[in-house]
């Protein structure tokens, strides 16, 4: 099998279109994950044991099972109970839910990393619970979380090929469809690899920057 440049150029537009869907799914998924993750984190901190335990089990379950199977579940089984999501929505919900369990751990770690002395100083200056969260804890907890969150964003990006299982035409599905109809696998798959690598390399520099900016704050 020889590399065919002409073929390579001809499939580029289709792949780029796939990339667009990939990026869209990643960003939407990350938004779901970040918000749901905060909800999970707070529910796990809840003094209500039943709530925190149930959330804990749910989070562990989602984290212990493959996203692929969860996607099948959402896409092919949920319609039986009347919940029919479009492929992209199902993908975003599936990825968002799956990664929310990771994000919730990030939130938890970030909150716990704020030194105890800060809670105490807030109490000693007589701030209320809400004022403590808003003015003292979150402003210190969130910046160090940013690199970890960006990392998961990247991980989500790399897992988007799973969405092909639920008929989302992201980059990998496009590549496979091209490959199947032309019987040429090397070019599309290599291009996909290169796209992933380019996005990742850019992100690595972005991450380094984020880490320098937010990672270690003068404590």
């Amino acid at each position: 099998m020889e590399w065919d440049w002409e073929f390579t150029y001809s499939i580029l537009p289709l792949l780029l279109q796939g990339l667009k869907i990939t990026v869209l799914a990643t960003i939407l998924g990350a938004i779901v994950a970040a918000s749901l993750g905060l909800v999970f984190a707070l529910m796990r901190r809840s003094p209500n044991r039943l709530l925190s335990r149930t959330t804990g089990f749910f989070v562990e379950f989602i984290r212990g099972t493959p996203l692929l199977v969860q996607l099948y579940f959402i896409f092919y089984i949920l319609p039986d109970i009347g919940l029919r999501l479009s492929p992209l929505t199902a993908g975003v919900v599936g990825m968002g839910l799956h990664y929310a369990t990771y994000f919730s751990e990030v939130y938890r770690g970030g909150i716990e990393a704020v030194p105890r002395g800060q809670w105490e100083a807030a109490k000693a200056t007589n701030l209320t619970i809400r004022q403590t969260w808003v003015n003292i804890i979150l402003p210190q907890a969130i910046p160090p979380m940013i690199p970890a969150m960006a990392n998961y964003l990247l991980a989500m990006f790399k897992e988007t090929p799973l969405l092909s299982a639920i008929t989302v035409m992201e980059m990998m599905s496009q590549a496979r469809s091209i490959a199947n109809s032309n019987y040429r696998y090397i070019e599309p798959m290599t291009l996909v690899g290169v796209f992933f690598l380019i996005v990742s390399i850019i992100s690595v520099f972005g991450l380094r920057w984020l880490e320098r900016r937010y990672g270690r704050q003068g404590r």
Partner: protein, 257 residues
């Protein structure tokens, strides 16, 4: 001003304070001394409501601290009651606990604006006066990381004062400082002691300072008051053997053997 009655406190199985009682009068300067682990910090933290109590009763400014009256009965205080009571009390910590993401000025104005609803401009005016008092008028816009330990601790004192508490608690406020920086902090505290009639509780290992500063000294060991009295008595003529041993060790290591 403060009335502690039969106070006890355990952490899990470890009983740190057991049936402790003492009073502090308005304006009194009290020094708590004693060996490591004797419970000095714990008392201050309880007064600041950073720890709950296991038993007994504390009154601050005539009101119970951890209890409140509800339908003629004493019930455990809720957050609202604690919030109200904390107005009377300010605390300065060993490790300063400044808010690292706020400037010096913001550290001081944050609580007054949020909890007392002071106007920003008033709060800042008062903050600058306090900074002036602790000798840091020029550092208002610095971030805490840019300050030396002694400067941080003086900011922490200003922050506590900004809420105008009637009672101030100091927990080994100089022991995280380089020796050269200790003096600047002690000077500020000395000034406070002389110029205001705030009630002050001081935990320290600086015996020299305790002596200058305090009206009364309590010597603790294992969660109990072993000896109490004016500084002259405790330091020059301690009655108890335990007090004598403790002071001898401290003095020995400070002055060579």
């Amino acid at each position: 001003m403060i009335r502690i009655n039969d106070l006890s406190k355990s952490f899990g199985k470890l009983t740190v304070l057991n049936g402790l009682s003492f009073d502090v009068m308005k304006g009194e300067k009290l020094a708590l001394i004693g060996p490591s682990g004797s419970g000095k910090t714990t008392i201050l933290r309880i007064l600041m409501t950073l720890e709950n109590i296991s038993g007994g009763r504390i009154e601050v400014c005539g009101e119970p601290l951890f209890h409140m009256h509800r339908n003629g009965q004493d019930v455990p205080a809720d957050e609202a009651h604690l919030h109200k009571m904390r107005r009377h009390i300010g605390m300065v910590f060993q490790h300063f606990n400044l808010f690292p993401h706020k400037t010096v000025l913001q550290n001081i104005t944050l609580a007054p604006t949020l909890t007392k609803g002071e106007k920003r401009i008033d709060a800042e005016k008062r903050a600058r006066e306090l900074l002036d008092m602790v000798g840091l008028a020029d550092k208002a816009d610095y971030m805490p990381v840019q300050l030396s330990g002694g400067q941080k601790q003086r900011v922490a004192i200003a922050r506590a004062l900004a809420l105008s508490p009637e009672i101030m608690l100091f927990d080994e406020v100089t022991s995280a400082l380089d020796p050269e920086l200790v003096e600047e902090v002690l000077q500020v505290m000395q000034r406070l002691a002389v110029e205001t009639d705030m009630t002050m509780l001081l935990v320290t290992h600086e015996m020299g300072f305790a002596r200058e500063f305090a009206d009364r000294v309590l010597f603790f060991d294992q969660g109990r008051i072993v000896e109490a009295g004016p500084p002259e008595q405790i330091f020059q003529a301690p009655q108890e053997e335990r007090t004598r041993t403790f002071l001898r060790k401290i003095i020995a290591s400070r002055h060579g053997m």
